[in-house]
Amino acid sequence: MTPIIKFEGVTKRFGQTVVLNNFDFIVAQGEKVVLIGPSGSGKSTLLRVLMTLERIDSGMVMVDGEALWFVRKGVDVEPVTESHLRHMRAKVGMVFQQFNLFPHMTALQNVASGPRYVMKKSKAEAEALAESLLRKVGLGDKLASYPARLSGGQQQRVAIARALALEPKVMLFDEVTSALDPELVGEVLDVMRALSSERALTMLIVTHQMGVARALADRVCFFEKGMMVEEGPPEQVIDDPVNPRTQSFLRAVKLT
């Protein structure tokens, strides 16, 4: 299995807080990895580093065989350029907890914006692509709706379509169902489940909902204080965890 994501001795601090501490992590191409763990354990930071929204302090992050934040030049490391970051960002897409749709654009314009401005497709081509993606996520009748007029579940499906429109190799999902009313979780989960059948697409999913983890994960990683405490297939980590900290976390989650 070729690794598509590789963290090697990555350290990330915010001031005094060490969020990732000499962190190692490997994800295989096409793998669906679910990250669970208490709030503040660094799960979002891990995804945000991959999306280049946060810089790391030391170590190496490789995506699809290329370094993300620093380049090794012989024995030296050099910070990367903006153009290299943009080259790397093309490989990764991200969906956020609060959707972060552009409020001044319709659903169609939101989804078409990437193909149009980044992939430089014609307006007609971009919109045709956006329309087919919106149909795929069940929003074929909401093309002209502005985000403010869509439910949370619908907005999140637009956001997923928007990220997919750029054909990323890796999709990052940061608690994408956490801001939704319980009855809307299902429609977003269905879209993600459909997506998870795409074998080549790598998915990294942060969630507090064990149902989501069970439905999607090849592998579940339990995260605490920027360290991987336990990992394995969902049946094992969720239903039969070995580590006492995983056990107590899961007990707390299941109570809610």
Partner: protein, 219 residues
């Protein structure tokens, strides 16, 4: 009301000058607001520092003094401009300094998450600004620029003090040669008020266009 009618041509000429000064000075003020507001956000000090100096200088001194300076003092240094150009420049520069704060505030009010979404979509910096940040900031700026335009209109009466025959200038002249001036002054106030109404109406139109279907319910 006979006086008003007798002096209608003078008053109309005055209105025309007031409108000219208001429109051009507002445009100048908005352009300067955008440039200075953006420059003050920049992390390039060569842009930031001059912008800050400009804003502090023009915001911290009286507009009338700036106007007199341009009209009476600059010619001594070989820079002489027509009264109209002086008026437009002084009023535009001064209000551009105020307006830069509008731009700065509006840009800051666009949520960080929006910029992050733009990065995640792999927009370059310029695209993120033009496609994501600016349209959202424009919506916040529009009513504030409307207010600025009304401030500019009110300030335009100062040009009467540098010999430019605007509405206020004409009113004062009529006042000097005529005994019954109350009707003239009432009409002058009404004209200013009417211009302000037009500006507010236009501003609301732009706001409406920028809002599109966003937070209105389906018609």
């Amino acid at each position: 009301m006979q006086v008003v009618w007798d002096y209608r041509m003078l008053l109309l000429q005055g209105v025309w000058i007031t409108i000219q000064v208001t429109v051009t000075a507002t445009m100048l003020a908005i352009v300067l607001s955008l440039l200075a507001g953006l420059a003050r956000q920049s992390n390039v000090w060569l842009l930031r520092t001059p912008a800050t100096v400009y804003v502090e200088l023009f915001r911290g001194t009286s507009l009338l003094a700036q106007l007199f300076w341009m009209f009476f003092v600059l010619p001594a240094f070989g820079v002489s401009m027509t009264p109209l150009l002086c008026g437009v420049l002084a009023i535009g520069l001064c209000n551009g300094a105020y307006g830069s704060e509008i731009v700065r505030g509006a840009l800051r009010s666009v949520a960080r998450e929006q910029r992050e979404a733009a990065i995640a979509l792999n927009f370059n910096r310029f695209q993120a600004f033009r496609i994501v940040v600016l349209p959202q900031a424009a919506r916040i700026m529009t009513p504030l620029f409307g207010n600025l335009a009304i401030e500019v209109m009110k300030a335009s009466s100062l040009v009467s003090l540098i010999t430019l025959p605007d509405l206020t200038f004409q009113a004062r002249n009529i006042n000097l040669v005529h005994v019954v001036t109350a009707p003239v002054l009432i009409v002058v106030l009404l004209i200013y008020f009417a211009i302000a109404l037009v500006i507010s109406g236009g501003t609301r139109g732009v706001e409406h266009a920028l809002a599109k279907g966003r937070d209105r319910l389906a018609a």
